[in-house]
């Protein structure tokens, strides 16, 4: 075994233990229902948990993430059994259709997630603090090379990479789900997700619903993690800080997202759910147990987002280098602040709304149950109070990346710096008062429609400011187009399409037609790709050399871009087109008489092309870590501090403290640059 590479050992373990888990689940299920359900939920969920854990066992051994996952599995079982025992004592059925009953699963999932945190070791230092033992500030690394990414590290750069890679992993899972259900939509009538199918206790259309709903939420979580990834990696570097303000909290924020992802995946196997990512009651109040796993997964992931953004805000306020006044902050930092303000506060509301549905299901509390005097529309208000601002959480960091990179590649100052900085805050603040534009057809009070329509249209102003500034920045610039710049330009155009398709949804009279059609699906894919996916790729191509000392292959990068972009336009315009012709969203089938088959087919092909381009990206990413062309200097000729030191970035960032002496984007101004390093005073600490 010794000379098998860790990765292949992981795969081997995955297969073997997956089979063991499957067999165990099958046996347990047999004990419960006295029949062998080969495609039932119980064997599947056991196979998932075992295989997932065993993969990391094979790669990394029993430490770090593996220990966390093992503890999560055990914690889930112990918690579930505990509730089962209590139920047995109370004379209630101890076990249910999915092995455990719903209360058992919920409690077990919670104890499992907490156990993960103890197992992975991210709580160790805090536990010491509670006993009055201090832990050193200067953290030493226990692991080296690739190994440090599999265990708790307090280094913001390691955490940034952990976030990014986790996000990429989730993007591939969510993308895979999309390809499955998109294939079903390629033609009218049911082809393979038929009513005869029976997988994880779901028939074809039910499986469609589960995959579609999970696609949405997994992608959202991956966006949260992806933005956290580059923010974590880059923001402290831009500020000239050694690390985030609270390194342990930073590690915690990352590591809670791992059990959250496991919970989200578990929901697919535990009966799934059919509400879409929005989880509206009354449907969500009676969907299978999977619904609860989904709620819990989002709840836990929400804490990652809340605490992560708290950390970013404190870091920006407290850890800036000398001379970095508000108007000399890099624009990405402004974007991170605006994002942080939203995520810190509004996220609590999606957590609360989901928690209330969970309690409604568990305890019969009728918050949203009209039969008990509850109000389902209340849920939508609470939910959208987060989930509209959340769309700015998705895009503001990406728009920040666009503004950050554009001046580098046009060799000109950013046009209207202050306006751009303020527009991020403006979008964030106005974003808090527009949520009910998602509810024009919900039956809420009609007089609310008008103010929410106008407030929504108001968002167009700060967003427009960004576009004007980008165009003016490019005007007469010396534009060069290496891969990161291609993605920046692509992002701008795609986001424009998304922005333009927004106002028709915001205007009540048109939205009454458009609501819940595929037009909406086209709209938000444009905004999210333009505001997140393209800039995210740009950021990866751009900062990859900083993290690894090598650059990604340009040719493959260009193929990635030129394959993805046209395919993407075809896909979303196709979506909008079928939507306008009456195609509803979130539905497994459509009437052949609508004559939408051809367009749907093209949309599906386009989706597969996007997936192919992302595969090329993945190959390029992992291959370049080892084989990429060496790039240890200022590859892009940037003024930003992180590029003034060699790559890969040293462990404690800057050897000497830095001081801001110029404008961040003064390209072509012939000044002395943005920052300079100062010789530390003799009596400084350490």
């Amino acid at each position: 075994m010794k000379n098998i590479k860790p990765f292949w050992r992981g795969i081997l373990f995955l297969v073997v233990f997956g089979a063991v888990g499957y067999g165990l689940g099958l046996g347990l299920d047999f004990l419960m229902v006295k029949s062998l359900r080969f495609s039932g939920p119980v064997p599947s969920v056991f196979a998932l948990l075992f295989a997932f854990t065993a993969f990391f066992l094979g790669v990394f051994g029993f430490r770090g993430i593996t220990r966390g996952l093992v503890w999560q599995v055990l914690g889930t079982l112990v918690g579930g059994l505990l509730v089962a025992g209590i139920r047995a004592i109370m004379g209630l059925p101890a076990f249910g259709d999915f092995f455990f009953t719903e209360p058992s699963w919920v409690f077990g999932a919670l104890t499992g997630a907490i156990s993960f945190l103890f197992g992975v070791g991210v709580l160790d230092d805090w536990m010491k603090w509670t006993r009055g033992i201090d832990t050193p500030d200067e953290h030493e690394e226990h692991y080296h090379g690739w190994e440090k990414y599999f265990a708790v590290s307090l280094d913001h750069k390691v955490i940034g990479v952990q976030y990014t890679v986790t996000a990429l992993l989730l993007i591939s899972i969510g993308g895979l789900f999309a390809l499955i259900f998109r294939s079903e939509l390629a033609e009218s009538q049911l082809q393979f997700l038929t009513t005869n199918l029976n997988l994880f206790s779901q028939n074809g259309p039910q499986l469609y619903n589960s995959l579609m709903s999970l696609h949405g939420m997994i992608m959202i979580v991956s966006i949260l993690l992806g933005t956290a990834g580059f923010i974590n990696y880059v923001v402290p570097l831009l500020l000239g800080a050694q690390d985030m303000a609270f390194p342990r909290l930073n590690a915690f924020s990352y590591w809670v997202s791992v059990p959250a992802a496991v919970l989200l995946l578990m929901s697919l196997f535990l009966g799934g759910f059919d509400t879409g990512w929005t989880g509206y009651p009354p449907l969500s109040a009676r969907a299978p147990v999977g619904m609860q796993m989904f709620f819990l997964g989002v709840f836990v992931a929400g804490w990652s987002s809340i605490l992560g953004s708290l950390n970013v805000l404190v870091t920006v306020v407290r850890m800036r280098a000398k001379g970095m006044t508000a108007w000399r902050l890099p624009i990405l930092v402004w974007a991170a602040v605006a994002t942080g303000l939203i995520a810190l506060t509004a996220t609590q509301l999606i957590g609360l709304s989901f928690q209330l549905v969970m309690f409604q299901r568990l305890f019969g509390m009728g918050f949203f149950d009209p039969a008990k005097g509850g109000n389902p529309v209340l849920f939508q208000h609470l939910f959208w109070f987060y989930s509209h601002p959340a769309v700015y959480v998705f895009v503001l960091p990406g728009l920040g990346v666009i503004s950050e990179l554009l001046p580098v590649f046009v060799r000109k100052p950013l046009f209207g710096y202050k306006w751009i900085a303020m527009s991020s805050l403006g979008i964030a603040l106005v974003g808090f008062v527009v949520w009910a534009h998602h509810m024009f057809t919900s039956g809420m009070n009609e007089y609310l429609r008008i103010p929410f329509m106008y407030s929504t249209l108001l968002v167009a102003i700060p967003t427009g400011v960004k576009f004007f500034s980008w165009v003016a920045t490019m005007w007469k610039g010396k534009i060069s187009t290496p891969t990161p710049m291609l993605f920046v330009l692509g992002g701008i155009v795609v986001f424009l399409m998304g922005g333009l398709s927004g106002p028709p949804n915001a205007i009540v009279s048109t939205d009454l037609q458009l609501h819940d059609t595929y037009f909406i699906v086209g709209h938000f894919h444009d905004t999210i790709f333009g505001g997140f996916v393209f800039p995210f790729f740009a950021a990866i191509y751009y900062w990859f050399p900083k993290a690894t000392g090598r650059r990604m292959n340009e040719t493959l990068g260009k193929i990635h871009f030129w394959l993805m972009t046209p395919a993407f336009f075809v896909m979303t315009f196709g979506m909008m087109y079928v939507g306008l012709l009456g195609m509803r969203r979130r539905i497994v089938d459509y009437d052949p008489a609508l004559h939408l088959d051809a367009t749907h087919f093209v949309v599906t092909i386009a989706a597969f092309l996007i997936a192919l381009s992302v595969l090329i990206f993945f190959f390029n990413f992992f291959n370049s870590i080892k084989n990429g062309e060496k790039a240890e200097g200022n590859v892009w000729n940037s003024r930003s501090p992180e590029w003034q030191v060699p790559s890969p970035m040293p462990v404690h960032n800057y050897e000497k403290p830095l001081e801001v002496v110029g404008e961040p984007y003064g390209y072509g101004s012939g000044d002395d640059g943005y920052i300079k390093f100062v010789e530390p005073a003799v009596n400084a600490h350490k």
Binding site: G132, L249, L352, F367, A371, K372, G374, N375, L378, A684
Partner: protein, 263 residues
Amino acid sequence: MEHTQNKSSAFSQGVVIFVYLAVLTALEFAIAVAFDAVPLLVVVAIAKAALVAYYYMHIYKLNQEDADLDHHSYSYKTNTNRFGLWLFLLSDTFVFAGLMVMRLNLLGLSRPGQLNQYLGLGVTAVLLVSSFFMNRGEIAMSFGDTKKFMNNTLITFILGLGFLIGVVFVEWRLAAAEGLTAGFGSPATGPTGAVFYMMTGMHAFHVLTGLIFLGIVWNNARKGVYTAEKHWGVEASTVYWHFVDLVWIFFYPALYLIGTAVK
């Protein structure tokens, strides 16, 4: 130095604020019983909250200049920690605000008539007194008086535990006996029970975490971890405890005082 006042004036300020708060609480109760004037109650609650936030939670310290600009010094880090803690409280406020919105949406200007207003006043008073002792404890610690800190914290802890028991084991039982149920498969009593148990439950959960926090800090003080200059743990648990009190300043009238009682 952290404190500009001398020791006795710091303690007496705590007493004065406590008297204000007690008077306002009594006034609030009287208003509710006599006039049923919601705007007035809102004003009183805001006034109480402002007093707690300023004098007990020292919100003004957020604005404090850094005594030492070295990012690794204890004082710089304490200011950083303080900012982080307040951001956390801001975030948490949104949970409670969401619950308040839920309450207003589902119950409007009626309140659960099954609740005993005197019991509500009682537990509120207990929590208020606990805040008073918490404040004394913190002042003692900021003058390096560990012994006094421990005593006051112990009293705070006992009162806090009393509040928790009062709500969860006394009030919940009495309310349930009066027919205020959360659901549990029993016939629906409207959303009133669900709202009541959710709001008090979420608050009680915070009280519980606050108690754990106090226990940890008390134990560390016993070990001599804190000094007059370095006691961020004490400050954090104090501020958190007052925050829990501050939430109750709004939840208490929302559940016990405003509007008309409906069974």
